[in-house]
């Protein structure tokens, strides 16, 4: 049942590193993370890897497997031929700490810039929302923050200089989630464009493709968000209406 697989794993720290070859036992039903764990337990005690739940629920074990951004715990070994070399490298968009572990603090910094949920004057226990209305944002709240979408997005993948002005699909989707939240009263349309870089997105859907939760990030979050921004900024009727005072603009929420 079991066989010996060829693995190439990136080993090294912030300074330098190399792909190291291993031959390691694989048993039926295993995933890439099992094999990485076997390496740790046998020949590479110090092999650094992040993981928690091993069930695709926590989003910790993100890496690139044969160049493709994936969760190691959700990549079954049966998807590779037995004689195929499996190459595991850290996410490319974030600086390497050690081996397969990267510094993902960029994501936490971007999260802090998005103005939080604002429920207005409604008291706890008094919220009333319909299922059909909560479902739109619920899809985005399935996000397990594996950051594979941000890792994949070409706006920052090879463009360090864009990181300052671009929050990545994950946090543009967070903006969309709050904008579509039936009980939220803030308006983040202006800052989505000006501060979080929504305009950089040219809807190539790479983020959607790598999302392990199968969230339709581009179609359901980013494109509708772009439409909302257009409606807010460029609709001539809205512009005219607000000039002559018959359309009241919502108060804009500044970056947090």
């Amino acid at each position: 049942m079991g066989y010996k697989a060829k693995f190439r794993v990136w080993r090294g720290d912030a300074g330098e590193g190399e792909l190291k070859d291993y031959t390691v036992e694989v048993n039926e039903g295993e995933v890439v993370l099992d094999v990485i764990h076997r390496l740790q337990a046998t020949e590479a005690q110090d092999l650094a890897v992040r993981w928690n739940c091993k069930a695709g629920k926590c989003g910790s074990c993100s890496a690139e497997i044969n160049g493709r951004p994936r969760l190691m715990c959700m990549t079954r070994m049966s998807t590779f031929a037995e004689d195929e070399t499996v190459t595991v490298t850290p996410m490319r968009t974030f600086p390497v700490i050690r081996d397969l572990v990267t510094d993902v603090s960029y994501n936490y910094e971007k999260a802090r810039e998005v103005p939080s949920f604002d429920g207005g004057d409604v008291k706890p226990g008094e919220f009333r929302m319909q299922q059909v209305d909560v479902e739109r944002s619920q899809e985005f709240r399935k996000c397990i923050e594996c950051f594979l979408c941000n890792n994949t997005c070409h706006v920052i993948r090879d463009h360090e200089e864009n990181k300052e002005h671009f929050s990545g699909p994950r946090f543009l989707m967070r903006v969309a989630e709050l904008e579509m939240h039936p009980a939220d009263v803030a308006d983040r349309r202006q800052i989505a464009q000006d501060e979080f870089g929504l305009g950089y997105c040219n809807i190539t859907k790479c983020c959607t493709e790598v999302c392990p939760e199968h969230i339709k990030i581009t179609d359901n979050a980013l494109i509708p968000m772009k439409e909302r921004v257009v409606g807010r900024r460029y609709d001539p009727l809205v512009w005219l209406g607000s000039k002559i005072g018959i359309v009241k603009r919502d108060k804009e929420t500044p970056k947090a």
């Binding site: 080993r11 090294g12 720290d13 048993n27 039926e28 039903g29 295993e30 995933v31 099992d34 740790q40 337990a41 046998t42 590479a44 005690q45 110090d46 092999l47 650094a48 992040r50 993981w51 928690n52 739940c53 091993k54 069930a55 695709g56 629920k57 926590c58 989003g59 910790s60 959700m74 079954r76 700490i97 050690r98 081996d99 572990v101 993902v104 936490y108 802090r112 103005p115 939080s116 949920f117 429920g119 409604v122 706890p124 226990g125 919220f127 009333r128 929302m129 319909q130 299922q131 909560v134 619920q138 709240r141 399935k142 397990i144 923050e145 709050l178 939240h181 939220d184 199968h214 947090a256």
Partner: protein, 636 residues
């Protein structure tokens, strides 16, 4: 001595799951400078694995529900061994805690009239679990995480610094609690995973919210963090643990393929109509309804199936018995040779709901089986079996303030003991986290206001020496090997069904393992030279070597308490003492550590307050209590 970073806080919360985050939010709301120490990245805690929901008697789905009914269900689920005051506070405060999450942005599934929807679960009389599909834990953790960010944004506005009053230390592990000359808590010592550097938190109040102990067992639904850190830290600081013999084996974990063995299959599958069958295609749970629950569960398939639509005129399906009952039943079926091909039983939802309903209500189960086992649960049954899921036992605390017996130490969530008695009901964990997380945050804040401390140098030196030991040891055993043997021992000898001779064998084996744990060695990192006064950067072998101490202590507590308790109750089943005993119900087993040795003593439980006792019928109380404990006016 090397320069170790020292940081001053009012309240330090160890653990960043639901309980830890809720405690930290409360401490910050009380104006305390608060640190959250997270073993993983922020937002990754084990709470994300909780699927079914959070139990709270809001009465949205059935208006007859109220805190008294919830209280009764909780006590029954725990077989009356629960700390009744905790169960009372929990039942009363859970609805407020859920509503508060909604005001922080949580999006629960809705009822038709726009309220929070509530679902059925094992042991709960009415539909009571607030939920989001089957990913409720993720919603809870994300909401608390985002509330913390919101508070940090307020601080940023006021002080120009997000971390001014509430800071998260991600990937940081505490290895020792620090105490001053007066025997009070004065801080915590740990290492930062990324760099291997040590850090000292100086604080008068420490809240433990470290979760459970599942990683001491081979088959478990728990993540790598669940190494009993808080349990062990508390013991080593002089606090006590109660109820450690009660370990919940969730009846439905995945059994195939081997690499996912133990991963949880949510109870919602049964709450939404799923049934358990053996290899004869028989719904076997009808054979396993215990005496104490005889009048509450259906005896025929017709009645059981009628309950989903008409719960007022039908009794509940026995698949929804409390978890301990279902786990034992599955165990018996497998032992009797009526199991599934991979040593479990069948859990069938495919023949009960339409495919689109299954995908809507159980999306992550559908996803999990499809991706990990290549099984389509809308078309075929799942194979499931018991998996170590939760420890009822934990730090002995004051119910109202969450204070442990050591001044300055508090505990909330799974690491605390008492709330769930001998068996926890599904859904009561997420609400427990919120209710007692908040109370611990309050208790710690109040205590911290009146206390100042300083950390003695000797405490730091001792903690540092201990943490460096496995790294500095020249030769020794591989920590992974020792860990695997510990897991095997606990699984085989202190598992779901226990016997005196096996428990004695376990204690002997653990004694030998303890010596081996003290002798594990960690190979230095490839390409990096060891630095004076710090550990290696991001070195999993070193992390495991340090976690092993905790798993070892906790395993000894479980085994010793399991040997002592000569009855079967909830999460403690003794093959040689199969009956529940009213005399044993009055007794808590308390573990402490003295000079490195686990000590066990019996401690009488406080009798239940009379008004709470009066919520039960006499004939029910008679099943659990001794003659002397029954209400006075009813005794003749």
């Amino acid at each position: 001595m090397t320069d170790i970073e020292r940081l001053q806080y009012d309240v330090v919360v160890i653990g960043a799951g639901g309980a830890g985050l809720r405690a930290a939010i409360e401490a910050r709301l009380q104006g305390k400078k608060t640190a959250i120490i997270s073993k993983s990245l922020f937002g990754k805690a084990h709470t994300v694995m909780a699927e079914g929901g959070a139990a709270a008697a809001m009465g949205n789905a059935n208006p007859n529900d109220n805190w008294q009914v919830h209280y009764r269900d909780t006590m029954r689920g725990g077989k009356f061994l629960n700390n009744w005051r905790m169960a009372e506070l929990h039942a009363k405060e859970a609805p407020e805690r859920i509503w508060e999450l909604e005001a922080w942005g949580a999006l629960f599934d809705r009822t038709k009239d726009g309220k929070i929807s509530q679902r059925n679960f094992g042991g709960h009389e009415y539909p009571r679990l607030a939920h989001v599909g089957d990913r409720t834990g993720l919603e809870l953790i994300r909401t608390c995480q985002q509330k913390i960010v919101a508070l940090q944004q307020e601080d940023h506005k006021e002080f120009g610094d997000y971390d001014a009053r509430l800071r998260v230390f991600a990937e940081t592990t505490v290895t020792r609690l620090l105490k001053d000359e007066q025997g009070r808590i004065c801080g915590a010592f740990g290492y930062i995973r990324e760099t291997g550097k040590f850090v000292v938190f100086e604080a008068p109040a420490v809240v433990l919210a470290t979760g459970g102990i599942g990683k001491s067992f081979k088959v478990t639904s728990n993540s790598w963090e669940y190494t009993g850190d808080g349990h062990a830290l508390a013991l080593l600081a002089g606090a006590s643990l109660i109820n450690m013999e009660f370990v919940q084996f969730h009846p439905t974990g995945m059994v195939w393929p081997p690499s996912v063995k133990g991963i949880l299959v949510t109870e919602s599958v049964r709450g939404d109509g799923g049934v358990l069958k053996n290899s004869d295609d028989k719904r076997f749970m009808f054979e396993y309804i215990p005496e104490v629950f005889k009048d509450k569960y259906a005896t025929t398939e017709e009645e059981a199936d009628g309950w989903y639509e008409d719960p007022d005129n039908n009794r509940r399906p026995p698949e929804l018995l409390p978890r301990d009952e279902v786990a034992r039943a599955i165990n018996s079926e497998v032992k009797a040779g009526r199991g599934s091909p991979h040593g479990g039983v069948f859990l069938d939802i495919a023949s009960r709901l339409k495919p689109e309903q299954i995908i809507k209500r159980l999306p992550s189960m559908h996803h999990q089986f499809k991706e990990l086992a290549d099984v389509d649960i809308t078309a075929e049954p799942m194979e499931v079996g018991p998996t170590c899921h939760y420890v009822m036992g934990g730090v002995e605390v004051d119910p109202d303030t969450a204070a442990a017996l050591v001044p300055g130490l508090f505990a909330a969530g799974e690491v605390s003991g008492g709330m769930h008695g001998s068996n926890r009901l599904g859904g009561n964990s997420l609400s427990d986290l919120l209710v007692f997380g908040r109370r611990a945050g309050l208790g710690a804040s109040e205590y911290a206001s009146a206390t100042t401390v300083s950390v003695p140098e000797s405490e730091i030196e001792a903690a540092m020496a201990e943490a460096l030991e496995p790294y500095e040891r020249e030769a020794g055993e591989n920590p992974y090997t020792v860990h695997q043997e510990l897991q095997q021992t606990m699984n085989d000898l202190v598992g779901i069904i226990r016997r005196e001779d096996e428990l004695e064998q376990a204690i002997e084996a653990l004694g030998k393992l303890r010596e081996r744990v003290q002798n594990v060695a960690v190979a230095p990192s490839a390409g990096a030279s060891p630095k004076e006064g710090q550990g290696p950067a991001y070195h999993p072998g070193w992390h495991l070597a340090l976690d092993l101490r905790n798993m070892m202590i906790v395993s000894e507590c479980v085994a010793r308490a399991a040997l002592e308790r000569q009855e079967s109750r909830g999460g403690h089943t003794r093959d040689d003492y199969p009956k529940m005993s009213a005399d044993w119900r009055k007794v808590n087993l308390v573990c402490r550590v003295r000079d490195g040795v686990v000590e066990l003593k019996r401690q009488d439980m406080e009798p239940m307050r009379e008004d709470l006792l009066s919520l039960f019928e006499l004939d029910e109380l008679q099943k659990y209590l001794t003659e002397g404990e029954l209400p006075a006016e009813e005794k003749n």
